[in-house]
């Protein structure tokens, strides 16, 4: 199965329990990835756990996220009866569209005669702005879900984390983003292709970081 090759789990443990532990960890990884809709976002991923040292590594190569969706791609927009009329194709985007219209034109100018349509009392010149409104940006949601997934998979006690992201062209050694505001993190990660997390309950050792580097190269990073 293709998915088996894309996500690999390895546990280093003396004794016979190793395979069982890998199977359990694998189950957790699959549940988390599918709950957060990340199956298509991740190209390849490897998880490594050493329960004795202890330390935990996730390395991943990401696929570029789907491009942002504009309003004109999900709705018909036309000028009728001196007002702008929208006929939306999919209900999922309605909350986002209505929020944008209310914010920009005021609730009193926006009518919703039925579930999938909206009428805005505003000049025809506004059509362009409305058509190009971004109703959904997968990359924004993707980032949040990715970090959430990594936090859910990593053992809870492993609170000391070294995170690393890079575009494939640049040197990995120089790029680490240990503490950054979420908004900055987001701009940096757009276009990021590969990453690793090293986590432990003890301070991160250099050997572990080197191990993460090796794993990243193994799965096809540069």
């Amino acid at each position: 199965m293709r998915s088996l090759k894309r996500f690999e789990v390895e546990v280093s443990e003396r004794g016979s329990a190793r395979e069982e532990e890998e199977e359990i960890l694998d189950g957790v990884v699959r549940d988390v990835i599918s709950d957060l809709n990340l199956t298509t976002a991740i190209e390849r991923m490897k998880i490594f756990m050493d329960p004795e040292e202890p330390y935990f590594i996730i390395v991943a190569i990401l696929r570029p996220p789907a491009p942002p969706i504009k309003l004109k791609e999900v709705a018909d927009i036309y000028w009728k009866g001196e007002k702008i009329v929208l006929s939306v194709h999919e209900e999922t985007y309605m909350p986002s569209i209505l929020g944008f219209l209310w914010k920009n034109y005021g609730r009193e100018r926006v009518e919703q005669p039925e579930r999938l349509s909206a009428i805005i009392n505003t000049p025809e010149s506004e059509i362009d702005k409305i058509s190009n409104f971004i109703v959904h940006d997968p990359s924004k949601v993707l980032f949040g879900n990715l970090i959430d997934a990594f936090e859910r998979i990593t053992p809870e006690g492993f609170r000391i984390v070294k995170r690393h992201f890079s575009r494939s062209q640049e040197s990995r050694a120089n790029e680490t983003f240990a503490r950054m505001k979420i908004e900055d993190f987001h701009t940096k990660i757009l276009g990021e292709k590969e990453m690793y997390f090293v986590a432990s309950e003890d301070p991160i050792k250099k050997d572990w970081v080197k191990h993460a580097d090796r794993l990243l190269t193994e799965i096809g990073g540069e």
Binding site: G15, E21, G27, V28, P51
Partner: protein
């Protein structure tokens, strides 16, 4: 000695069961009415169980031995975060409740990690208020072995669940492997089998305690105390909780404030002429606004009723 059973039958004429139970000196612990069916948790004297069996057959009801009825199990988790809740802990708790047990979930304040994991004295004492502790642990062998420190000196029986299918734990009474960390509801056949194993392990711990009690029986049986509380402290009927009195193997927990009701509880009278304070140790429970009663054995009081 009391025999814990559940009766499952029709609503029609089920009052005859209740009357018979009262006549033979048994107690109703809990009643669940579901449209035309009724589920009763009962404690009946072992000697007269045959009478109840006959009546149940007459009414075409189902009588089942329920060893977990009237027991108080605590599930201990390293924390209440996503890693441990809701799966598998809530699934385990639900399964135990279906067998008649009362369950509590405790998330330790500093239970995560391996070297850094700790348990407080207060947490230990809270756990020890119950009959059996079930520690829901994680996936990795070396981690579980180091985390034995969490339940090393817990004075009640300890059942531990974890990942590796076989593990030699020195301080656990029972170990159920193959169930580590789970992130989905336990539905598969293999998983239900694990839940059954857990219930059997808890039952073994409970039976062991009950057998030990035959050598030094309790001065008074907890279900009888529950009956007297309901009759002599009417405020208990105004408590909003669905289970205002939590039965345990050797005591009970009452959801009334300690300060206000301690003396009322002490003065509860029994037909034989004794008062409750001569037969139990009364303490403030570590649960909010609750009183904990632990019944003294015959060796301490010199009598049983």
């Amino acid at each position: 000695m009391f025999y814990p059973v559940t009766y499952n039958g029709g609503v029609y004429r089920h009052d005859e069961i209740l009357e018979l139970v009262e006549d033979i000196g048994g107690y109703l612990i809990q009643k669940n009415e579901m449209q035309t069916e009724v589920l009763l948790n009962l404690f009946v004297p072992k000697e007269d169980f045959g009478l109840l069996e006959a009546k149940s057959k007459e009414l075409k009801g189902e009588l089942k031995y329920a060893p977990l009825a009237g027991t108080d199990v605590v599930l201990v988790l390293p924390s209440l975060a996503f890693h441990h809740m809701p799966h598998p802990s809530c699934d385990i708790a639900e399964y135990l409740r279906r067998e008649g047990s009362s369950t509590t979930m405790v998330g330790l304040a500093r239970g995560v990690g391996k070297r850094i994991a700790q348990i407080k004295e207060e947490e230990k004492r809270l756990i020890e208020e119950h009959d059996v502790a079930l520690f829901v642990m994680g996936t990795f062998e070396s981690c579980l072995l180091e985390k034995e420190k969490l339940f090393r000196d817990i004075k009640i029986p300890v059942v531990v669940t974890g990942g590796p299918s076989k593990l030699d734990l020195r301080y656990a009474d029972e170990y159920i492997g193959g169930i580590g960390r789970v992130s989905h509801r336990l539905k598969k056949e293999k998983e239900i089998k694990k839940l059954d194993e857990m219930v059997e392990a808890v039952i073994r711990c409970v039976e062991k305690r009950r057998v030990e009690a035959t050598n030094d029986p309790l001065t008074v049986e907890p279900p009888r105390i529950m009956y007297e509380i309901r009759n002599q402290i009417p405020e208990i009927n105004e408590v909003l909780s669905p289970v205002p009195i939590n039965l345990q193997i050797d005591g009970l927990r009452i959801k009334l404030p300690y300060e206000e009701y301690r003396s009322d509880v002490e003065e509860i009278k029994f037909d034989e002429g004794y008062k409750l304070r001569e037969m139990v140790k009364i303490r403030r429970s570590l649960f909010r606004r609750s009183i904990l009663l632990k019944v003294m054995p015959r060796s301490e009081t010199g009598f049983t009723i």
